[in-house]
């Protein structure tokens, strides 16, 4: 049977989500950001939240997220996304507000805003892309960089004596009373992508039900910063990152 016949007679099992715009992303080939953008677009469409959702874009590689997902967005100052999201979700309780932040944004300059928003139990979703590096500025050490990992500012590898230890933000946030759902996922295999999608769905459902703050950490790759190919970075991530950042739910209050 020819491909054309299958296309004509068969059913569409997957197509590009409606909420993704036609713009071509500025991300490097193989970047995890693209997959997570697509999952957010799919989840918001499936949950019929396109008209109610408001995203808060970070500073970092995902600064142009508003060009790619066709919902309302606000661009926040570096690290202040949860503070901006707090205002929007309190002033317009009908909105479903989510932040999209990298590790430099959420775990470095925005640590205070993140922890206090989560501690207040704001009804927002925090999507945390953890790739252990500052991708946009050229691959410098981030707070989440692994010990021994080589970056532009730790050319001999990160050492605890000089640079301190990698910070596990999701574990910290899970100890706060304000969070209702904290999970750590990845998007390196089809199975992981499907799990990450159901985690995002649950997080948005919590925001709709006003249960408290939901945090979805996505352990991601930065193949340009890590100086590997996209496929190699996925293997490197599975081998090294998951040891420090194990996948799974850290907190789940029904």
């Amino acid at each position: 049977m020819k491909k054309e016949d299958i296309i004509k007679a068969g059913t569409v099992v997957y197509e590009r989500p409606r909420l993704l715009t036609d713009n071509i992303t500025h991300y490097c080939p193989g970047c995890s950001h693209g997959v997570v953008h697509r999952l957010i677009a799919e989840v918001l469409d499936e949950m019929d939240l396109a008209e109610r959702a408001v995203g808060v874009a970070p500073v970092g590689c995902a600064v142009f997220a508003y060009n790619y997902i066709d919902v309302d967005w606000v661009e926040a100052a570096h690290g202040r996304a949860p503070a901006v999201a707090t205002a929007m979700s309190r002033l317009n309780p009908g909105n479903v507000v989510f932040t999209y932040q990298g590790d430099g944004d959420l775990a470095a300059i925005g640590t205070a805003e993140t922890i206090h928003a989560a501690n207040r139990g704001e009804n927002i979703v925090i999507i945390f892309i953890n790739n252990a590096i500052y991708g946009m500025t050229g691959g410098q050490m981030a707070p989440t960089t692994l010990l021994g990992q080589k970056t532009a500012t730790t050319p001999y590898g990160r050492t605890a004596a000089l640079n301190g230890y990698p910070i596990k933000m999701s574990d910290i946030l899970a100890t706060l009373d304000g969070t209702c759902y904290v999970t750590r996922q990845a998007v390196h295999t089809p199975a992981a992508v499907r799990k990450a999608k159901s985690a995002l769905k649950k997080a948005f459902a919590n925001a709709v039900a006003k249960k408290g703050t939901s945090v979805v950490e996505i352990v991601s790759t930065c193949n340009s910063g890590w100086k590997l190919t996209p496929a190699q970075s996925n293997l490197w991530m599975a081998e090294h990152m998951f040891e420090k950042y194990p996948l799974g739910d850290l907190k789940n209050i029904d």
Binding site: K3, I6, G10, Y14, I24, Y27, G30, C31, V35, T189
Partner: protein, 78 residues
């Protein structure tokens, strides 16, 4: 026994040639173009063995650029 056949349509000008779909495909359908490039200079993915496709949409799941449309057809094997 009914057999499942699949087909993928790739938006080649959106493709950045990251190779993740090729790695994810369980049926060895996809490959990057060895010589040809798309409008932006990337060696885009194409379906080398279209007959082997089972329409599992693994390629679509890992594609960072949403290039894939996947079709599936259940047909009688006779």
């Amino acid at each position: 026994m009914a057999k499942i056949k699949g087909a993928v349509v790739i938006d080649i000008n959106r493709c950045k040639g990251c190779d993740l779909c090729v790695v994810a495909c369980p049926a060895d359908v996809l490959e990057l173009q060895p010589k040809e490039v798309n409008d932006r200079g990337y060696h885009y993915a194409y379906d080398k063995n279209p007959d082997a496709c089972i329409g599992c949409a693994s390629c679509a799941a890992v594609c960072p650029d949403g290039c894939f449309t996947v079709y599936r057809l259940v047909c009688d094997n006779n």
